[in-house]
């Protein structure tokens, strides 16, 4: 109760203070420092108007500088310092220590997995949901239901999915949906269809799409028009990454068929190394799909009707219209959605913290950092791992600033 009272007082002081600051600083500027009267009235008004923007901006700049800009540089400084050795400068020792830890590399590997799977899956599902719901009468209801997880906290979602993944002994009733479904498979034709053929089709489809993207990236180079050395290098790099993904997914297809599945045994899904990462990713995909859907749906509706009508007249089928006419036109929006989800993924902490806390090889960078900060109490390595996250964010940061500046001109 005291805290609630304190909260009310803070709102009053905070709001009153802000309004008071803005009001009185303007009054002081206009009445006392540069009064709009007397011999220098015109000059004074101009001077006052030059200063006024900074009055309006001052609280925001102060808060942003102190709470976001300064910490970036301070964290960089701290990552080169050893607190136990009296804040001595230790060069890259913290980074070296971090690199020598298997947990860090595990976190890096998992983060890369998250970075590929979550934005791709959330964008794909979002696009699918947007395209489908735009065509039916109860689409807006369907949309708000798919969008709903957006309001649920990561912690709440973790509890929800822990129930889904729950496992009981083989002789008991399963209370987790996933195990209840799993226990229905006993190795017959249905199991083969759903657990071998279906995943293989999904993986092959994924490989096909990635391969197509690699082809799109390389096509301009083959024609001899790359558009600058940097862009050519980026294209080759992107194509190499895509080729790697194709190889990985094809190898996974083979392992899907050769794997000996433990039918009839309830699985502790969150303790299966490697696969448990995907079960954690499902939580974030479930949350982010709604976001992707809302933005992509608006983009789809913004496509000029004429382009679609022209395609219909030319005899295009719905799939051709979708992939050849609509997707290219909303490509910029897809990039925005993708990068926004990428940012969320890089910061993902709550889900891993609540569901596995990085055990069973599910560590990610943000949780690794939290672990170093509060459990190992090693601020140097924690800062170093935070800088790794910053480094991963930087390309998106540069891209966003570049685009924002382009738009303003």
């Amino acid at each position: 109760m005291e805290a609630a009272l304190l909260g009310l007082v803070t709102i009053a002081i905070g709001v009153g203070g802000c309004v008071g600051y803005f009001y009185f600083s303007n009054v002081i500027l206009d009445k006392f420092i540069y009064p709009a009267e007397g011999p220098n009235a015109g000059h004074n008004i101009n001077r006052a108007n030059q200063i006024r923007p900074w009055l309006f901006l001052f609280p925001a700049i102060a808060a942003l500088g102190l709470y976001l800009a300064y910490p970036v540089f301070e964290t960089l400084r701290l990552s080169f310092i050893d607190r136990d050795a009296g804040n001595a400068f230790v060069g890259f020792a913290n980074y070296q220590q971090m690199m020598s830890e298997p947990k860090f590399w595990e976190a890096m590997r998992n983060n890369m997995l998250w970075l590929i799977v979550v934005p791709a899956a959330a964008t794909a599902f979002g696009l699918l949901a947007a395209q489908l719901t735009d065509r039916i009468s109860w689409g807006s209801v369907a949309k708000s239901l798919i969008f709903m997880p957006m309001a649920i906290s990561f912690v709440g979602a973790s509890v929800i999915f822990k129930l889904v993944y729950d496992a009981r002994g083989a002789d008991q009733n399963q209370i987790g949906v996933l195990n209840a479904v799993w226990m229905q498979f006993e190795g017959g034709a249905g199991s083969f269809l759903f657990l071998k053929i279906l995943p293989a089709i999904v993986l092959l489809g994924f490989a096909g799409i990635v391969g197509y993207v690699a082809y799109l990236l390389l096509r301009p180079l083959m024609r001899g028009a790359g558009g600058g050395a940097i862009f050519s290098a980026l294209r080759v790099l992107g194509a190499a990454g895509a080729a790697y993904l194709v190889v990985v997914s094809l190898r996974t297809v083979i392992s899907v068929f050769s794997a000996d599945l433990a039918y009839g045994e309830p699985q502790q899904w969150l303790t299966l190394p490697y696969y448990n990462n995907f079960f954690l990713m499902v939580v974030l995909i479930w949350i982010q799909t709604g976001f992707a859907m809302v933005i992509l749906s608006a983009a789809l509706r913004g496509i000029p009707e004429e382009t679609i009508e022209a395609a219909v007249i030319d005899g295009a089928n719905p799939f051709q219209i979708f992939f050849r006419i609509k997707i290219p036109q909303i490509m910029p929006t897809i990039v925005v959605v993708w990068t926004t989800i990428t940012l969320t993924v890089l910061k993902v902490f709550d889900i891993v913290f609540a569901m596995t806390n990085g055990q069973w090889e599910t560590q990610v960078l943000a949780n690794y950092m939290f672990d170093k900060l509060f459990r190992a109490n090693d601020w140097g390595v924690a800062s170093a791992s935070a800088m790794v996250i910053m480094l991963l964010v930087t390309p998106i940061l540069v891209w966003n600033v570049y685009n924002a500046r382009k738009e303003m001109r």
């Binding site: 901006l57 970036v72 719901t133 906290s153 949906v177 809302v294 925005v336």
Partner: protein
């Protein structure tokens, strides 16, 4: 789209069914939690929540009434009779037994011979007659193992426990108020600061404006993780340590880039005429802002308010780092639920209810203000 109407209606059907499947998949996990929060611990561990809405076959362990109080002497034998189920419960017994090793030995209506003349008869409606000599019909009531189909039963007891009567970790009431104490100031204060800054960036001319906007776009993506250690040190240094003040300040700082970005984008789109007319009529910037810009910007303000509310209400990391100290008096709901996951991992009736209490408020806000949320998302994603 397609040339003949047959394939067209087929396609419409396919689309409708796909959307139903998609919505069901997305809704299923949440519904599971919701249904589980209305079931007792026994029900949850006996069957999956999807069975909660239908009569379910359960193995029950019941007991006859206490022989020392209720036995009646008849012809030298002692008899205890009654009904194993409460009044009004409509139960369909399929099998029963008197030993834990053979729980389905007898059919309803059968008489169990328990040796030395001791017998127990259980009728299909749940009434029993237990008879034997003085020695046998004494002590505690006889256990009866019943396999029965019981009607679905939902209860709000879990909510009473979590909100009012629970003790220690099981009571979420304090954490609920703590969360609101964090959330409301952390939503209100950044709006004001951001609104003034956004107005300056949208409608005032000054050198360095473009640079500032670029800086805000850059700060939009700076990960929170970078700020934790320096700010923890800073809060220690200025002496506020861990507490509400620290968490309010932190949320204000972290929410500002999005707030300024959203509001500036909206204010730039307001009609120039109105503002210039007001200037010509002699209004000061402060007056223009308060009397014209703020009322017109209401949709954008609402959008950001919802974002910031959801984000601060659902946050775990900032609260863990800047608020919750060793005493645990200031714990918030998300943090308490994570602790419950650790200590009461198997008690789904507690977990499900606690989680649902915590997500109820955001869900209500979501459904009430969805329009503004969508608008904000569309404006806020950097184009």
């Amino acid at each position: 789209m397609a040339s003949n109407s047959g394939t067209k209606s087929g396609l419409t059907w396919a689309v409708n069914i796909s959307v139903v499947v998609l919505v069901a998949l997305w809704l299923f996990p949440t519904v599971g939690l919701f249904v589980s929060s209305f079931r007792t611990a026994d029900q949850i561990s006996a069957s999956g929540w999807w069975g909660a809405l239908f009569p379910a076959e359960q193995n029950l362990v019941l007991r006859t009434s206490d022989p020392d109080d209720t036995r009646v002497e008849e012809n030298g034998r002692f008899v205890v009779s009654g009904r194993v189920f409460e009044e009004g419960m409509d139960v369909d017994i399929s099998a029963w037994g008197v030993s834990s090793r053979a729980i389905d030995d007898y059919q309803p209506g059968d008489t169990a011979d328990m040796g030395d003349g001791e017998t127990l008869t259980l009728a299909p409606d749940g009434t029993y007659v237990w008879s034997g000599n003085d020695d046998q019909i004494s002590g505690r009531g006889q256990r009866i193992f019943v396999t029965a189909t019981t009607p679905p039963e939902l209860t709000t007891d879990n909510y009473t426990t979590i909100l009012f009567s629970g003790s220690g970790q099981d009571n979420l009431a304090k954490a609920f108020f703590n969360t609101l104490t964090v959330t409301i100031p952390a939503t209100v204060i950044p709006i004001l600061i951001a609104a003034f800054a956004a107005y300056a960036l949208a409608w005032m001319e000054f050198p360095g404006r473009a640079l500032l906007i670029a800086a805000i776009v850059a700060l939009l993506v700076v990960p929170l993780q970078l700020a934790l250690i320096p700010l923890l040190r800073f809060h220690e240094w200025i002496g506020i340590g861990k507490g509400y003040l620290g968490v309010w300040l932190a949320h204000t700082g972290f929410g500002l880039p999005l707030a300024i970005y959203l509001l500036r984008n909206y204010m730039v789109g307001l009609p120039r005429d109105i503002i210039e007319n007001a200037r010509v009529d002699g209004a000061t910037d402060f007056q223009i802002f308060v009397k014209i810009i703020l009322p017109l910007s209401f949709p954008a303000l609402a959008s950001f308010a919802i974002f910031q509310f959801l984000w601060t209400y659902n946050d775990l990391l900032v609260a863990r780092v800047f608020l919750i100290d060793a005493t645990g008096q200031t714990t918030v709901m998300t943090a308490q639920i994570v602790e419950l996951l650790g200590t009461r991992g198997g008690n789904w009736e507690i977990l499900a209810t606690a989680a649902f209490v915590s997500i109820a408020v955001p869900l209500a806000v979501f459904f009430a203000m969805q329009k503004y949320l969508v608008r904000g998302l569309l404006a806020g994603s950097v184009k």
